[in-house]
Symmetry: C2
C-alpha cells in the first residue's frame, strides 16, 4: 500500500519527484523535481470540475508542498500550450512573479496571452527541440513531440542523480501534418546513454493499437464538405491548429471562404498564423459580417463550442439565440473534436438541438472526424522500446490508465518492481539508479470560484450537493430572549423543495407546537431552540415526502 | 416546422398516434393509439434524470393528454420488461387500477413484482409470439423479438384504419443464445399484406453495421476468467438473463461456484430460473456467506452496480465499505454492461477505485464484454426491407437518432414525405393510408421525487440548480412593524458559499446601513425592506466574489 506519512530527508545525491496534480486524474498536470535543495517544475495546468464539484470554475494543483520554497524553484518548464499544462501558471506566478517560464514559441505565446488577462508579465525563456538549457543543476534537453497542438516538447532532465525523460502529452503520428515527428530517434539516443526514470503519458494506455493519422481526417472532412449544399459550420478546439489547417485546405478546394467564430479561436489562429504554424491563403478569411452576406455554399464557419459549453457560439446557434448565425434545415455542422468525459450530456444536447433544427450533424459518433492526441497502447510500446528505461512512472491518467500503462512497460521488459505507480502527492525518490516511493505529501483540490482561490472547500461543496439535490426549508423564529417565547408566528419558506405553494403549510403548526414545548421547559438558548426546530422539521419532511432538503432554522432573540 | 396547436378532431375512420414519452429522448416510452374514440397504449416506462434535473428519482410520461379519458383505454401492451418500458405502469394504474396489462410471461412477472412494491394487483393478460388478441377495435398480433432481455415482443396493431407495426426495442442477433430469433419472416409476411405505419427503434440508428452476437461475449468472458487466479466479480444489468447465463456457463467450465449479489439480481434471476429462461446447474449457486468461505479461485460473484450507482454492492466494494466483499490486489472485476450516457463519471469512478485497490478491471473500454441490445443501421435496413412500410415513424431516440433512422428508411425506398419525425406530444394521424402530423398536445416532464409525483417542477429544479452552483446567503432581520426599525442586529448565514468563516463579515454593516436608510425613508413594508436587502447583498457578492448565490432575505415584523 501507498504510505501516508511524509518522506524523510532526500538521500544525498538523490532526485525527488512529486506530482502536485495530474496523476490519478486527467488534468492540472504539475510535477516537481528536487535535487540538491533546488526545485524544477514541469507543467502547471488546470483541471475542469466534475459533477461532484458544482459551481467551481477551475481546479488548481495544490502548491502547499512547495509554497514555502518558492525561492528555491529554478524554473517552470511547459511541455505544450494546453490548459491542463499551462492554465495554472498565472496562479503560480502570484507566488513568484519572476520565475523563469520555459517553453516553445507557440506555448509561450499562449502563456503570454493568458498572463495578460491576469495582468502579469511573465519572465519567458524560449526553447526549441534539440536545444539544451540548464537551470541550476537541472540540465534540460528538449525533444520534438507530436500532439494535438503545435510545438509540443518532451523534456529530458539531466541531474547528477540520473537522467529523467518526461514525455508531456505525446503521440506518434507517422505522417504529421507539419512533418514534425515525435523524435523517436532522439529518445533512442538518450536511451543508449541510459534513462533512469521515464515519466509517460497514460491517457490512452487502455486503448489498443494506434491512433489514426491526423491527415486522414482531412479526407473525411473533404467528403462531408463536398456534399454540403448550404452553410457549413465546423467546431473544434481553439488550439488545434492542424485541425483548423485541414478545414482551411478543404474550404479552399471547395470554393468556400472562412469566418472564424469565437474569441479564443480568433486569437489563437492569429498567433498561429503570425508564427507560421497556420498557413492562411490570401483572401480566404473573411469577417463574420462579410461571411453572412456570402452565398450559403461559399462560406464555412470555424467555431468554438465543440464541448457543448453553454455560452459558446455553437450552443447559441443550437438554441436558436445566436445573434448572427441562424441554422437552417440542410445546413451542415461538424464537431471535429473529442468528447471529453463528463461533457457527453452537453455535447449531445447540442447535437440533438441542431438535428431538431434540421441540420446534418457530423460528429465523432457517426464519422471519423476526430483522432486523439494521445498515444494508444501500440505507440506506447514503441516509446518503451526506444527508451529502454531503468524505472518507469506513469503520469497523466486516472488509476485505470496508470495500471494499463504500467502493464505495457512491464510487457516491454521493465521489471515490475521498477514501475512506480504514484498518485498526486506520492513522493518518489531516485537514489542509486532505483526509483521508489518514499512517502506522501498532502495534495488536495484547490478550487477557483469567481475571484477567489481556495475559500471554496469540501464543506461548501458538500452543502452545494445537498442544496442541489433537495433545496432547503428555512424556518425563522423571533423569540423573547428572557422567556424563550415566540414573539411572532414562525416564518417558513422553501426553495428547491416543491412547486406546490401548500407543500409546507403543515410546518407552521409543527414548529409552533415545538416552540411552546421549549418555552414550557424554560429553554431560552437560541441554539438549542434551533436544534429542536431542525429535528422536528427534518423528521416531518422525511416521513411526509421521503426527501432530504437542508433544514435551516434561524432563531432571533429580541 | 412542427405545429404548436392541438389537432382538430380525428377524421372518421382514421388512426391517431401520439407519444407521451420516448420520442426526442431515450426512456419513458409510451405511445397512445386512438381509433373510433378508443385508446390503446404501448409501453409505459420511466426515464432516469439528467444533471439538469437534480434530486429527481424518476421521470414519468405525461398522462395529461389522456387523463380524462382513462375509461376509454382498452389496454396497455408492454413490449418487454425493461424499466423504460414498464416502470411507469404502477403510476398509470393509479388512474385506472383494472386496466388490462398485456405482455409476455417474463415481462408480466417483472411487472407483477414491481406492482407488488406499490401494493397494486394488476389485471395481467399474458400473450406470446404468434398470438393474436383483440382489445376493442385493436387487434394485436405479437412477434418474437431479440433484445437484451428475454421474451421481448413486437406488436402489430390491426385497425380498420390500417396496420401498424411497433418494433419495441429490437435487434437482429442471428445466433441468439436462446435460439429465439427476431421474427423477420413474420415481419415479411405482414409486409406482404401491407404495413401502413412502422414505428421503429432508433437508439442505434447512427451506428453503422451490425451488433456483434451476444454469444461472442461468452468467449471473451471465458478468456478473462480462465486467466483469473483469485476472486472474480462480474457486474451486469439485473434483467440481462442471457448475459448472466453466459457467466454461469463460464463459471461451470472453470470450476467456480456462483453467488448472486444485489436484491434485483437475486429476484430477477429467481424469476428467470422459475420460467425456464435461465438454466442453473444443480449446486452451482451458493449464498453469499458460503461463497465467502470458498477458496478464492473457486468463486464468482454476479453483482448489480454496473452503472456506478453509489449505493450498489459494486460501488461499495470499490470504496472499500462493502460489509462482506473486500477487493484484494489481483482480483478480477468485469463490468459486462453498457455505459449509459450520463453515467460515465460514476462508472469510471468505480473503475478507478477498483484499479487503485489493485483489481484487474475489465470493461467495455478495454475488452469486448458488452454488446448493445439495439439494432445498428445495418440491421434496421433489414427491417425496412422486410416490412416495406407505407409510412415510417422513428421512435425511441433523441433527435440525432430519429434523423439517422429516418435517413435509413428513405435509403430503402420509403418516400421522404412518408417518414414522419415526431417528438413527444406531436400527434400523427393515419388517414387513407397516409400518415401526417396533425398537431401537438402538451407533454412535459413529470417528476417523481421521494413519495410525491408532480410537485417538483421547473421552478423547483431551477432553484436547485442555482443553489447547487452557488449556495445561498440568508439575511434575517427583525423590524418594528410600525417604524421599520431593526430591533436586533441582522443575522447573516451562508451555506454552500464559502469555507471561510469571515467570508460574509462585511455583510452585516452593509445590511445595517441599508436598513437605516429604509427606516429614514419611512419604509415599513417588509416585502420592500427584503427587496432592498436582497439588492444590496446581491450587488456586493457579485462585485466582491463574482459569484451568484441565492440571496434569501427574511424580514420579520415584531
Amino acid at each position: 500500500m501507498i504510505p501516508q506519512a511524509p518522506p524523510g530527508p532526500l538521500a544525498e545525491g538523490g532526485l525527488r519527484v512529486v506530482a502536485l496534480g495530474g496523476i490519478g486524474e486527467i488534468g492540472r498536470n504539475m510535477t516537481v523535481f528536487e535535487f540538491g535543495g533546488r526545485l524544477l517544475i514541469v507543467d502547471c495546468g488546470v483541471l475542469f470540475p466534475e459533477d461532484q464539484q458544482p459551481g467551481v470554475d477551475l481546479i488548481l494543483p495544490d502548491f502547499r508542498a512547495i509554497e514555502s520554497r518558492m525561492d528555491q524553484v529554478d524554473a517552470v518548464v511547459l511541455t505544450h500550450g494546453h490548459e491542463d499544462h499551462i492554465g495554472a501558471v498565472p496562479f503560480l506566478l502570484r507566488h513568484r512573479p519572476n520565475l523563469p517560464v520555459v517553453g516553445s514559441r507557440f506555448t509561450l505565446a499562449l502563456v503570454a496571452a493568458k498572463c495578460k488577462e491576469h495582468r502579469l508579465t511573465p519572465n519567458l525563456v524560449e526553447v526549441a527541440e534539440g536545444g539544451r538549457v540548464s537551470f541550476g543543476d537541472f540540465e534540460c534537453e528538449f525533444f520534438a513531440v507530436n500532439h494535438s497542438i503545435p510545438d509540443a516538447l518532451a523534456v529530458a532532465i539531466r541531474t547528477p542523480a540520473g537522467v529523467v525523460l518526461h514525455t508531456g502529452d505525446i503521440k506518434l503520428d507517422q505522417l504529421p501534418l507539419d512533418g514534425r515527428l515525435t523524435d523517436l530517434a532522439g529518445f533512442s539516443r538518450l536511451g543508449d546513454d541510459g534513462v533512469d526514470l521515464f515519466l509517460v503519458d497514460s491517457t490512452n494506455a487502455e486503448v489498443p493499437g494506434f491512433v489514426m493519422a491526423e491527415r486522414e481526417i482531412g479526407q473525411v472532412l473533404d467528403g462531408v464538405i463536398a456534399r454540403a449544399q448550404q452553410r457549413v459550420i465546423v467546431a473544434c478546439f481553439a488550439s488545434h491548429v492542424h485541425r483548423v489547417q485541414q478545414v482551411l485546405d478543404v474550404a479552399v478546394r471547395h470554393g468556400r471562404r472562412i469566418a472564424l467564430v469565437g474569441r479564443s479561436m480568433v486569437r489563437n489562429m492569429g498567433i498561429a498564423a503570425d508564427l507560421g504554424l497556420l498557413h492562411v491563403p490570401e483572401g480566404l478569411l473573411v469577417d463574420l459580417d462579410e461571411a453572412l452576406h456570402l452565398p450559403e455554399h461559399e462560406v464555412l464557419f470555424v467555431s468554438t463550442g465543440s464541448q457543448g459549453e453553454p455560452l459558446s457560439a455553437l450552443s447559441r446557434m443550437a438554441r436558436g439565440d445566436h445573434r448572427q448565425i441562424k441554422i437552417f434545415p440542410g445546413d451542415t455542422v461538424v464537431l471535429a473534436s473529442s468528447l471529453i468525459p463528463g461533457n457527453e450530456t452537453a455535447v449531445f444536447g447540442v447535437v440533438n438541438e441542431l438535428s431538431r433544427l434540421g441540420a446534418n450533424v457530423v460528429h465523432q459518433g457517426n464519422a471519423r472526424v476526430h483522432v486523439s492526441g494521445h498515444a494508444s497502447a501500440g505507440e506506447l510500446l514503441f516509446l518503451y522500446n526506444a527508451v529502454r528505461p531503468s524505472n518507469v512512472m506513469p503520469v497523466h491518467g486516472e488509476w485505470r490508465h496508470l495500471r494499463a500503462n504500467a502493464a505495457l512497460a512491464v510487457a516491454t521488459g521493465v521489471p515490475p518492481d521498477h514501475v512506480v505507480i504514484a498518485e498526486d502527492g506520492v513522493v518518489v525518490d531516485l537514489v542509486d539508479g532505483r526509483a521508489a516511493i518514499s512517502g506522501r505529501v498532502e495534495v488536495g483540490h484547490v478550487y477557483v470560484d469567481g475571484l477567489s482561490v481556495g475559500d471554496v472547500g469540501d464543506s461548501t461543496l458538500s452543502d452545494r450537493l445537498i442544496l442541489g439535490e433537495g433545496g432547503f426549508i428555512a424556518i425563522t423564529v423571533a423569540v423573547d430572549s428572557t422567556t424563550g417565547r415566540a414573539v411572532a408566528p414562525p416564518t417558513i419558506s422553501g426553495r428547491g423543495f416543491s412547486d406546490d405553494p401548500k407543500a409546507l403549510d403543515e410546518v407552521v403548526a409543527l414548529v409552533e407546537k415545538e416552540l411552546s414545548h421549549s418555552e414550557a421547559e424554560g429553554i431560552t438558548d437560541t441554539h438549542r431552540i434551533a436544534q429542536s426546530v431542525r429535528r422536528v422539521v427534518g423528521r416531518w419532511v422525511a416521513d411526509t415526502y421521503r426527501r432530504r432538503p437542508m433544514i435551516v432554522p434561524t432563531v432571533i432573540p429580541v
